[in-house]
């Protein structure tokens, strides 16, 4: 019983983490029509930044916000400096993000070496919590709470603000959005920054669970891809449901069939592709 409870909690926490990673990925994909293959690298960078800021004496939350901000700025530089120059050449943009992810990964290896860097959880969240006689890892619950807060904020941003309405308009019909006077290129920059910042934040938040290590980027990127393939492109709801689905599959897969966890993870993706190629929550966009 303890096993199932703990694994369920782990799955939910991991799902929350995946939401931080893939909501930005999905929004960028939805608006800019390109998968940002540097997203896993952003996540990894967030984890390393978080560890470093905490080494410098920042507290956990400040470090998380700072690394989100830093990675967000990096996203803006990437979008303004490179992607903008390749506007209209989506394939070129994708390849550039892939190239950038390799550069980031190598630079991380140079700066932080090949050994995993632990990211400490906040002091108070380290001892386990006891509920109804079972011990729960407190920090996983914290991650879940953060993810839910982030989801609510993102939902409010997308549904209740002018900016959100403009982003939705851009996702649904870019030509029309341009036509009614929305500055789509400005939106690109803001969404890219938001997505990168969320990935960076997620990196620090996920750090205490996963540690920062070389290859974290390549481990996370396929997960974001699967979430988006499951949930459909550009859909916040899809990213939310997809993240928790993948969180469960990945966690239970790892716990029950360690050799095949990675394969099991992709089975629902295959099923969705065969049955519903547009994803489970494909929006109005065709």
């Amino acid at each position: 019983m303890q096993f199932w409870l703990i694994q369920t909690l782990n799955s939910i926490a991991f799902g929350g983490l995946l939401f931080l990673l893939s909501s930005g990925f999905s929004l960028i994909f939805g608006l800019m029509r390109m998968p940002n293959l540097a997203h896993g690298a952003f996540f990894m960078l967030g984890a390393y930044f978080g560890a470093t800021f905490m080494n410098w004496g920042a507290n956990f939350w400040i470090a998380a916000l700072l690394s989100g901000l830093a990675v967000g700025v990096l996203g803006v530089i990437l979008e303004r400096g490179l992607l903008r120059k390749l506007a209209g050449n989506a394939q070129g943009q994708v390849l550039v993000t892939l190239g950038v992810s390799f550069i980031i990964a190598d630079v991380c290896l140079m700066v932080w070496t090949g050994d995993p860097v632990p990211v400490p959880a906040p002091q108070w969240a380290r001892p386990p919590m006891f509920l109804m006689g079972y011990a729960f890892p407190t920090y996983r619950l914290v991650v879940l709470v953060i993810a839910v807060i982030a989801a609510v904020l993102l939902y409010l941003l997308m549904e209740r603000t002018r900016l959100g309405a403009m982003i939705r308009a851009g996702v649904d019909d870019m030509e029309m959005a341009r036509g009614v006077g929305i500055r789509v290129s400005l939106l690109f920059m803001m969404v890219f920054m938001l997505g990168a910042a969320l990935a960076g934040l997620g990196g620090t938040i996920g750090g205490p669970i996963m540690q920062a290590y070389p290859g974290l980027d390549a481990d996370m990127l396929p997960l974001a891809l699967v979430v988006v393939i499951l949930g459909g492109v550009g859909s916040l709801m899809g990213a939310f449901v997809g993240s928790f689905a993948v969180g469960f599959i990945y966690n239970f897969g790892t716990a029950l069939f360690p050799d095949f966890a990675y394969v099991i993870l992709f089975l629902p993706m295959v099923a969705v592709l065969v049955l519903m190629p547009e994803g489970l929550f494909a929006g109005s966009r065709q």
Binding site: S101, P222, A261, M269
Partner: protein, 330 residues
Amino acid sequence: MTRSFIALLLIAVLLALVPFMMDDFFINLCSQILCYALFAVSLNLIVGYGGMTSLGHAAYFGIAAYAVTWLHTVAGWDHLTSAIGAVGVATGTAAVFGVLALRASGLSFLMITLALGQIVWGVAYRWVALTQGDNGMRFPQRPAPFGIDINGAMSFYYFSLIVFAVSVYVIWRVVNSPFGASLRGARDQPRRMRMLGHDVWMIRWAAFVMSGFWAAVAGLLFVYYQKFVSPYAVSLQQSAEVLLMTILGGASTLTGPMVGAIIVTLVKNVASTYVERWNALLGLIFVLAVVFMPTGLVPGFRRLISRKKPAAAPADETATPPAAAPERAS
């Protein structure tokens, strides 16, 4: 026709003479280039001619390498049967993956091929009982085709050259066949092709499977050369590397991917003597290639030459660089 024929003959003679001009280190480097060139040409079938950019092409390359090693060392098959079996397994995987990936097109296709490639990587890395995980598998002994020993650098180079030449010749025939024309048609005008009664999906799928087949042949060359295979052979880096070769040289030309393979393999080998890892350099070349040479080197050079030609004297023919394209001969 005659001009490109002469150029082709020149290249062939040059390639055949390589071992007499260099020492073992460079001969081995040339064998490596031939292997990657075939790999890049195979990818180009779908990227260049089919307009489908795949980021999971290392899967078929690596599966063939793993399968031939497993069949030969664990199952105990002889060289020929395990080679045929390995190509069969890899091509079969390509057939299944093709069905899945071709549910989508464009960037979704790219994403799905990436995800499928990562499945294969996951199996190679985590299923230790089958693949020995991160340690990789050793391939004990190169085969001896028709009783000829190919353990030396020179004899292996000729072996690779023959495999390469035969493969590229077949691919060239395919590209210039009616099937090749319909593949390009499906790339440029899928709706018109449908109107003309072509099964666009089937054309794409057939090209995908063929591409997997030739990647598997390249994978065999790879494992015979290295006598070793590790999860790196099926990694995203490997897929990205071969895509870089194809795009850097110029997709949709037959020579482009070969030029790309030469450049990337040389840079990789030179760089590895100075820096420990070459991923950052790979990334940098990727960014520069896409930003500054979106169509690749070979089409760029060709445009340069054709722009110069009216001004240059017609007797200048011998000065043309060996980038003459066989596929334009038709």
